[in-house]
Every structure is written in structure tokens, then in C-alpha cells.
């Protein structure tokens, strides 16, 4: 079976080693672009959070910490099975490789399932982005009433209690809000911004998980055909690198979105 492999060394490579290293380098450059892609969203997060910390402190309580932590554990386990799968491919253990890829895919599907439950809850409660946001906000979410400081502390620092004296040329800018004094018990303004950030970041991550499931399925089909072995495990290796990066991004998303204090 080993001799039927068609992908020995492509003609533009000197040897298998060079081919393997070139593939890895290409994958890491792709991962660098992925990091920069998510970097834009992390930047948006940082800007909004630094300008409106009260929105993030208030709104993150609507996320389910338990489900978030569960999903973190699920992804970490999937990364582990993926790392084991790469090892199995390198050692030429075909059945083990297929099994481990299957386990990784199952965990990825599990992650999406939990994510789906979370999205459904947000959807039902109207905790959505921009103009779609229509949730009835309480001063404190019913789930965690005791831990909520009802007054967003940053609001007072940020906005003047003095109403604006002049209204400026029409259409140039909107007057700022000046209802801080009486609105002290209510939720902060523009809570939908948090959910826009939440859905964008977790959504783009979710798309990556779906792509990952596709990649891993493809790898599983090829592994069943017996294409991988000690001499040729690069595709599994590279799919693994992608999958681990998806895990890493979630490792940062989880505390940034679910564990705000």
C-alpha cells in the first residue's frame, strides 16, 4: 500500500524534508494572517471596552459562564485528540488516526451544539446586535442579582451631570445624553454594542470551527484510504495546526467575553 502513494515529492522540491518544511512554513504564514484577522476584532473589543467598561461589565452577565467554560474544556480536549491524531499519523497507526480524527470532529460538533444553545437563548431574549437588540434589560439580570453592582461605576466618571448648554449646528452631531443622575439604577446605554462584539467574535470563531470540521472530515477520508504514514503526514499535521489555532482563539475569547469583572 505504501508504494501506491502518489505524493512522494513534488518535482519542485529537492526532498521530502524540504517539502514538509515548506508546507509547514506556508501553514504558519496562513495562521499569521488568521491571527491578524482576529486581531482586528480583538482591537474593536479593546476600543469598545476601554471606552465603555460599564457596558461590558453589565452585559457579560447575560452570557452563561458554565456553558462557556464547558466549551473551553471541549475545545481543549479536541486539541488533545488532534495532537494525538497527528502523532498517530506520524507513526503510521491508521486505525488510531481515524478514531482520533473522529473524536476531534465529535468534540467540534459538541462545541457547536453548546454554542447553538447559547445563541438560541440570546435570540429568544433579544440580546442581539445593533438595531435587532430588543431585550428588556433589568438593573440586574435575574440569574445573578446578588453580585451585580446596580450602578455602573464608570458612568458617573464618564458623563457630566450638567446638561449641555448649547446644541450646536443642526445635523453636525447629536446631543449627548445627560440623564446620568436619574438613570443611575438602570442598565447602561448601548448594551447592544457588547452583543455585536460577542456575535462577531464568536461567530467568526464558529465559522472557523465549521471549516475545521470540514478539514478534519477530509483528513479522515484520506486517512481511511491509508494515505498517511511516517513518510507523509503533513496534511494531518497542517490541519492540526489550524485546529489548535482555533482553540487558542477561543482560549482568549472565553475570559474576554464570559469572565469580565
Amino acid at each position: 500500500m505504501a508504494d501506491t502513494r502518489t505524493h512522494a515529492v513534488a518535482h519542485h522540491f529537492d526532498d521530502a524534508e524540504q517539502q514538509r518544511e515548506a508546507g509547514k512554513l506556508g501553514m504558519w504564514i496562513f495562521l499569521a494572517t488568521e491571527i491578524l484577522l482576529f486581531g482586528g476584532l480583538f482591537c474593536a473589543y479593546a476600543v469598545y471596552r476601554s471606552n465603555h467598561p460599564e457596558v461590558f461589565i453589565y452585559a457579560h452577565r447575560y452570557l452563561d459562564k458554565t456553558l462557556g467554560a464547558l466549551n473551553t474544556a471541549v475545545l481543549i480536549c479536541s486539541s488533545f485528540t488532534m495532537a494525538l491524531a497527528v502523532r498517530a499519523a506520524q507513526l503510521g497507526r491508521r486505525r488510531q488516526l481515524v478514531g482520533l480524527l473522529g473524536a476531534t470532529i465529535a468534540l467540534a460538533v459538541c462545541f457547536l451544539g453548546v454554542k447553538g444553545i447559547e445563541y438560541e437563548q440570546k435570540w429568544k431574549e433579544g440580546l442581539l446586535w445593533g438595531a435587532h437588540f430588543h431585550a428588556k434589560l433589568a438593573p440586574a439580570p435575574p440569574a445573578l442579582p446578588q453580585t451585580l453592582p446596580a450602578v455602573p461605576p464608570a458612568e458617573g466618571e464618564e458623563r457630566s451631570l450638567i446638561p449641555p448648554a448649547a446644541t450646536g449646528p443642526a445635523g453636525l452631531a447629536r446631543p449627548g445624553r445627560a440623564e446620568v443622575a436619574e438613570g443611575a439604577q438602570g442598565p447602561p446605554h448601548d448594551v447592544q454594542v457588547f452583543f455585536a462584539v460577542y456575535f462577531l467574535m464568536t461567530g467568526l470563531h464558529g465559522v472557523h470551527v465549521i471549516v475545521g470540521i470540514g478539514l478534519l472530515t477530509w483528513m479522515m477520508v484520506r486517512a481511511k484510504r491509508g494515505e498517511f504514514g511516517p513518510e507523509y503526514a503533513t496534511p494531518v499535521d497542517l490541519a492540526g495546526l489550524y485546529w489548535h489555532l482555533v482553540d487558542i482563539i477561543w482560549i482568549f475569547l472565553f475570559p474576554l467575553l464570559y469572565l469580565i469583572r
Binding site: 509547514k24 486539541s79 495532537a83 487558542i248 482560549i251
Partner: protein, 120 residues
């Protein structure tokens, strides 16, 4: 988690096949990642002020480092891959920090007394 024999040996024999990370190392990293996840959830329950964000990011960075070094076997790979990775991180850091500097460089109201002003 120091597997000293693995790293140098892998670099010393570039002619050999790809480095296979031992199961023991992978399992330890897996355990450490799960423990750190529990730790970050536990730490978030305690109010430490602004230290909470720093701690959460520190733990996440440690977790990511473990994944990169062992699961993504960067530790055993050629240094050029680490350079590519570090370059991406550097540019994200530049991007985020310069944008944050910029977003804090403006007054809340460009037209005096128009929008809500910062307290004097």
C-alpha cells in the same frame, strides 16, 4: 513540563523524520490546560479590581503558549516558524495598542459644551 532531551535532539538531527511528541508530554499539557481553565474561572469569581483582566490574560497567554509549544510542536520545529508566529503577534500588539492610544487621544466633545463633557 521540561522535556529537555526532546528539543535539542530534534534540532540536532534535521535529516530524521518529523519529531513525534511523546504521549506523556501531550497528556500533561492537556491536564495543565484543563487545570488552568478551572483556575481562570475561579479567579474571575474574586474581585481583584483591574488585576482581574491582567490575571485572565496571563492565564490565557500561558494556555496559548502551551498549545503553541507542544500541541503545535513549535518547540521542536525550525525557528523560522516561531519568527512568523511572533511577527503576527507583534503586529497585532502594535495594531491594538496604537489604536487604543488613538482612541483615548480625543476629547468627548469637539464642539465645546455640546456633548457630555468630562468632569473637570
Amino acid at each position: 513540563m521540561t522535556e529537555a532531551p526532546d528539543g535539542p535532539v530534534a534540532h540536532a538531527e534535521p535529516a530524521g523524520a518529523t519529531h513525534v511528541v511523546p504521549v506523556r508530554v501531550l497528556a500533561r499539557v492537556w491536564g495543565a490546560l484543563l487545570v488552568l481553565t478551572l483556575l481562570t474561572v475561579a479567579v474571575a469569581r474574586v474581585d481583584l479590581g483591574s488585576l482581574n483582566l491582567d490575571l485572565a490574560m496571563l492565564i490565557a497567554t500561558v494556555k496559548a503558549t502551551l498549545v503553541v509549544l507542544y500541541f503545535m510542536h513549535l518547540r521542536y520545529d525550525r525557528p523560522i516558524l516561531a519568527v512568523v508566529f511572533a511577527a503576527a503577534l507583534l503586529f497585532v500588539a502594535l495594531f491594538v495598542s496604537i489604536t487604543l492610544l488613538d482612541t483615548h487621544a480625543y476629547a468627548h466633545n469637539l464642539i465645546p459644551d455640546y456633548g457630555p463633557a468630562l468632569p473637570k
